[in-house]
């Protein structure tokens, strides 16, 4: 019998629709996989006790002849930054240990409405601050390709869950690369939609002008299918775009034919530097594939991208310092057991409840917003944001998509950059510009590094609202690469033995 955990969401959905497989069987198979390997991987912070019951309910509705969504019955992993009524939501922080939300995030509600079965909540850097999941208060997630290495961050749990075949689909959030950089280091697919394309209602806010929720999957088509479920206008999110969107699954299917590459103009950014030789080699080989299939590759200039990381580490901490003020020990979350005024209790609670990276960024943000420094730091960063948007506008006047390696190196060792915040921040140099400008981005596997045999991702960026273009182009490249590899890249990942949860 087929191992149900190895199927793509799309293939599993077909088997569910035809009645060949039940959702209860598919859900059981994934829960068994979690039991078998998650002791090693630690992708999940919480496994859903009600998953099988939810799957059985879908099976009953299907048996009764109800017309169900294409993905109904497919299991889904949910990043712990997204609130859920039936599972705790901690955002990887001790300060929210055991927090039970009175409502579901819109993306979770829409997933449930489509019949997706939540398997559990995935690990992440505390409040999504980090590039390795090492800043989770509940211990790091490990990369399924090499358990001594990081799975990326902040959404390392979601990426590792799909890479380790613990879930076919996952939800992530991307503020500076938290969906795309984990995809790069785990050989999976991650999409950051256009800012406002997917609701953030119920996504515990990190930096509100940058955050975006998106799909984490093993194939481009699966990402499109999930994006179709979660996307679209939501009156509960005031930044949600009131725009009609095409089907991204349809775009992925159309793109897989490869027609889109004929005459496609692909831009490579001259000023984007800092990639390892092996990452650059994998990237160049993928770009050569595009060219051989009829794409025109040109160099473009985006002179302000080199200031993006600096601007980001002013804007993000500034917004985070404000968003995280809500953890006041009064209405929800932890309260330190100390004597004194409400302010003393608040300070002690935040001192005990936040990890070092969260404290570092809140203090940095408070500094950047202080009277006397505001113009020099936060104000300047906002101007850099304008310049980066102008760089994108100029580039997209010349090319259809921009291609970059998704991150500077392959997965590094756990602990390697933990004591060097600036080295950790440099991981996001290729992904941050998209968040600053609000444009969509995707990372898909480009191959394995010749140096260490670990996955490398290629990132495509498109103008705002042109998410469908990313799905078409990525699906085309994915088809060419999978054909060359003779199967999905993840078939080459080592088997995970033991490590029971």
């Amino acid at each position: 019998m087929t191992d149900l955990t190895r199927l793509t969401a799309s293939d599993l959905a077909s088997k569910l629709a035809s009645g060949e497989v039940s959702s209860a069987e598919a859900t059981d198979a994934h829960l068994a996989r979690i039991r078998d390997v998650d002791g090693d991987v630690h992708a999940f912070l919480h496994v859903n006790d009600g998953a099988v019951a939810a799957a059985e309910a879908i099976d009953r509705r299907r048996a009764a002849g109800e017309h169900l969504h294409e993905l109904a019955g497919v299991p889904l992993a949910v990043k712990d930054v997204l609130v859920t009524t039936d599972m705790p939501s901690t955002a990887g922080s001790k300060i929210l240990q055991g927090y039970m939300s009175p409502y579901d995030a819109t993306v979770v509600a829409r997933s449930r409405a489509a019949g997706l079965v939540p398997l559990g909540k995935t690990n992440m850097d505390e409040f999504a601050m980090g590039s390795s999941t090492e800043h989770s208060a509940y211990g790091p997630t490990r990369n399924p390709w090499d358990l001594d290495r990081i799975p990326g961050g902040s959404g390392g749990g979601s990426a590792a869950a799909v890479a380790a075949f613990e879930a076919p689909l996952a939800l992530g959030s991307d503020t500076g690369g938290s969906i795309r950089q984990p995809a790069h280091v785990t050989g999976t697919v991650g999409v950051k939609p256009t800012y406002g394309a997917v609701s953030r209602y119920g996504s515990i806010a990190l930096a509100s002008s940058l955050d975006q929720v998106g799909p984490v999957t093993r194939t481009v088509l699966d990402a499109g299918l999930l994006h179709d479920v979660i996307g679209g206008h939501d009156p509960h999110d005031a930044t949600s775009l009131d725009t009609p969107w095409p089907s991204f699954a349809a775009a992925a299917r159309e793109g897989a034919t490869g027609e889109v590459l004929k005459g496609l103009k692909v831009g490579l950014v001259r000023e984007l530097r800092g990639f390892s030789d092996a990452v650059d080699a994998s990237f160049r080989a993928a770009v050569a594939k595009l060219e051989a299939a009829g794409a025109e590759v040109v160099e473009i200039s985006a002179p302000h991208f080199e200031y993006a990381t600096a601007a980001y580490y002013l804007i993000l901490p500034a917004e985070a310092s404000s968003n995280l003020a809500k953890f006041d020990s009064v209405r929800f979350g932890m309260r330190a057991d100390v004597a004194g005024t409400v302010e003393d209790v608040m300070s002690a609670t935040r001192g005990a409840g936040f990890g070092p990276e969260v404290k570092r960024r809140i203090i940095l943000g408070t500094y950047a917003l202080s009277a006397g420094y505001y113009d020099a730091y936060y104000g300047s960063a906002q101007k850099v944001r304008t310049l980066i948007q102008q760089d994108f506008a100029g580039a997209f006047g010349e090319v259809d998509v921009i291609a970059t390696p998704a991150a500077p190196t392959t997965a590094f060792k756990l602990g390697e950059k933990l004591d060097d915040p600036l080295a950790m921040y440099a991981n996001d140099l290729a992904t941050i510009p998209a968040n600053l400008a609000g444009v969509p981005g995707i990372s898909i596997p480009s191959g394995l590094s010749a140096e260490d045999g670990l996955p490398v991702g290629i990132q495509f960026l498109a103008p705002a609202y042109e998410d469908a273009r990313l799905y078409r182009v990525s699906a085309a490249l994915e088809a060419l690469l999978v054909d060359e590899w003779g199967g999905p890249l993840l078939d080459r990942a080592p088997a995970l033995n033991g490590g029971a949860r």
Binding site: Y103, A238, T239, A310, A311, S321, A348, K359, R360, I363
Partner: protein, 99 residues
């Protein structure tokens, strides 16, 4: 060389309502000094003729009809509170002795 000192870090901790240990103050002072020196490069290109952008996609104010929406019940509102009297959040003293 930025102006990050242990006293400034302690002051920022107080403004942020985060109690910091002496060890944390020492560590953060060094780290923030390095981070601030690095991110200060934004001022190289942020000249006076460049407009600031606060939001990536231009948006106008979003309004809804002024009618009650889906509200949380009292029980839901208090379900995660560290302490309550059943209808209100309960906290320790708001004002200190000398206030």
């Amino acid at each position: 060389m930025s102006e990050i000192t242990p006293d400034l870090v302690r002051h920022l901790g107080a403004l942020s309502r985060i109690q910091l240990s002496d060890d944390e103050v020492t560590t953060f002072t060094g780290e923030l000094d390095a981070i601030v020196s690095s991110i200060a490069q934004v001022s190289e290109v942020a000249t006076s003729d460049v407009a600031a952008t606060s939001h990536p996609i231009p948006l106008v104010n979003v309004f809804r009809d002024d009618v009650p929406g889906d509200m949380l019940t009292l029980e839901q509102t208090l379900q995660n509170a560290p302490d309550s009297d059943g209808s209100r959040f309960r906290v320790t003293a708001i004002l200190g002795e000398e206030q």
